[in-house]
Amino acid sequence: MTDDILLSMSGIGKSFAGVAALKEASLTVGRGEVLALIGQNGAGKSTLIKVLTGAVARESGAVRFEGVPVDFRTPQDAQAAGIATIYQEINLVPLRSVAENIFLGREPRRWGLIDWRRMHEQANAVLAQFAVSIDVRQPLHHFNTATQQMVAIARAIGQQARLVVMDEPTSSLDDREVAVLFDVIRQLKARGIGVIFVSHRLDELYVVCDRVTIMRDGMTVADQPMASISKLELVAAMLGRSLEEVKQFGATAFEEDFAVRPAKVLEVEGLKVAPRVAKVDLDVHEGEIVGLAGLLGSGRTETARAIFGADRPQAGTIRFGHETTGFRTSREAIGAGIGFCSEDRKTEGIVPDMSVRDNLTLALLPQLTRHGVIDQARQREIVDRLIKRLGIRLSSADQKIRELSGGNQQKVLLARWLCMKPKLLILDEPTRGIDVAAKAEIQSLIRELARDGLAVLMISSELEELTEGCHRVSVLRDGRSVATLDHAEATEHAIMTAMAHGPDEASISHAGA
């Protein structure tokens, strides 16, 4: 049945600056088939899509579209061949009319001029197929995201697209709009158009997709009919666990020394931060490491940023020390004793051209200053002490931080907060992209800090880090707290179950307490 195969990509490899983003990635889409493409952050989904659409050149592998080997050099090539991509941020022209957007670059003409009447009629006709009825002469930005997406799809159909790639199309839609979108996808399917559907909302995949391709570490690790795989199996494959070998019990290395629960440092109730966080409850005690688990898009980072005062929540309470209403700025949160290591070291952590010394003391610097002048002797003393304590490997504290390895950079960022003597440290993926040795060092350092009384809230996508490195694990799913697991309960199986299904009698102790 090779006739039915619309697109096949096989053995795709691509590396950036020597780091492999894709190795042996593959996928196939049949005519009229809706394929779910899923994977954790950094699994290679977006690179694979970029290879398909010609935005990135592959280094190895083959792409066949409608049975013909193809090699798109630019996104325009792919578009001309019949592959349309609909991005999360819609890439249309917001100030031009709906009709103009649908016909951009191929406007119906008459006597060399645009035939507006015909263009508007045709635009109406295309949109009517999707039961969308709007004034096509209005500028696109007058309409909401869902409608704009419909316009983008209408444009794709108008271009005779035979494959439509949708990158997280539902992330900013409400339930009703999602239902409309799914109707449209079914129509595309009925016309024999193939769809690649990228989403992190697992439930949706079962509603609309026929087959699923799962990626991990740049490879395709599973490819099977949607109906034949359970949500738990999906999560396990994304995280790199087979259900048979999932550890039923947490590691024993972690001593449980909480006979008496010490004081609560942080208490969050009913937190809502649009658009990703709907209702999150969690608390952290003195000397406790609480893991925050959840799939990509479950609202973990958004929760952390709201606690830190970097984003403003719409509802809920955040209690920390004397503060009961939450912080309005990061400055306030830092002043109250919170530290926050962002998941994105490069764009939100290091100041690349600055020395290690200045990076390390970035937050502390005002305290090392008298009459506006930096006390360099004290700065040097503190920096030297922390470099030693954390075992940061460098040739000199004057070295630019960009020259350090990822692991050492991360240690400098940890030190940036440790020198502030915080009461609560929020770590977002503290060991991502770090070599194994540095990873172990950072993990044991976090434990040591907690033993000294520091409260830690740690976001992690690594099951081991959650089961072995945390006293408790709080699981989020679609922006909601769905489970809080004690160390003994927090097995890989239980965490994955909560991530996939939400509340489950067997694995909950006190969800949303």
Binding site: S330, D358, G372
Partner: protein, 333 residues
Amino acid sequence: MQELEVAAPRRRRGLTWPWRGGPLAGALLALGILVLFNLIATPHFTSLQTLYVNLTQVTTIVIVAVGMTMVIATGGIDLSVGSLMAIAGALAPLIFAGRLFGMGPGLLADGLAFVLPVLAAMAFGTFNGWLVARFRIQPIVATLVLFIAGRGIAQVMTNGNLQAFHNASFYALGLGRVLGVPVQVWLMMAVVGAATWVMGRTLYGRQLLAVGGNEAAAQLSGLPVARIKIIVYAVSGLLSGIAGLIVIAINSSSDANLVGLGMELDAIAAVAVGGTALTGGRASIIGTLLGALIIQLLRYTLLSHGVPDAAALVVKATVILAAVYLQQVRRAS
């Protein structure tokens, strides 16, 4: 031996000296070549007269370019400097001539004629910073507002007339000397010294570089990003105001149409030639000083060899391009 021991701790503080092959080596080399060429080819180059002519002409560029360096270090740019010079230059004669406050000539009037125009330019600079920091308007657009409107304001204040004047205090600023060195050169050295100290030793300097180097990281580390930006544009305005006063003092007249005309481009060129990246996060005050000297000396060299103005501009642009290119190459290696 002794010198080595003194030098060692300096290196540890992160100062790189140009003659040790630091980032300024290229600029220093270019300056050296220019000086050498003039020593050989330009008559009377070694006279004190020549030195003063060049120094006098370079002071205003240096003073404005120092402020520009700091603005660029935050990842911004200030196009309004020339117009702010014109405003300060238009305001001062109005004050000491008594046309603004109806005040008789005297020391008080002269004092106010120095202070108020500079404060006015600083206030306009603060407005620039406010647009950039509070409304997140791109610096090139935000400062374009006063680039256009500022000169208009100066022209309205003076009805577009040239104001010629004789004022002892301004004469001293323009042509006076202390210990044989022009007053404005002392002023320039004070500005360069103060800025070097601020960037190297103070909290503000460090935070400025952090904002330019990674604004998101600075914000998440609790730095008052908006305040830092507003201050830097205010400082740029203040320095422009001082430069405006120097220009009218040298000319003993103020022409709102001409004071500071094209200064923004000279200042940006000095910063670029001096090795400060226009992407932010880095600042070399000494580099900017060298950059301004190179541009000035180049202009002088071409002029004294009778190269027509139009051709001189092309040569100037070529040298700027070459200097910036050399730094790119150095950085990449």
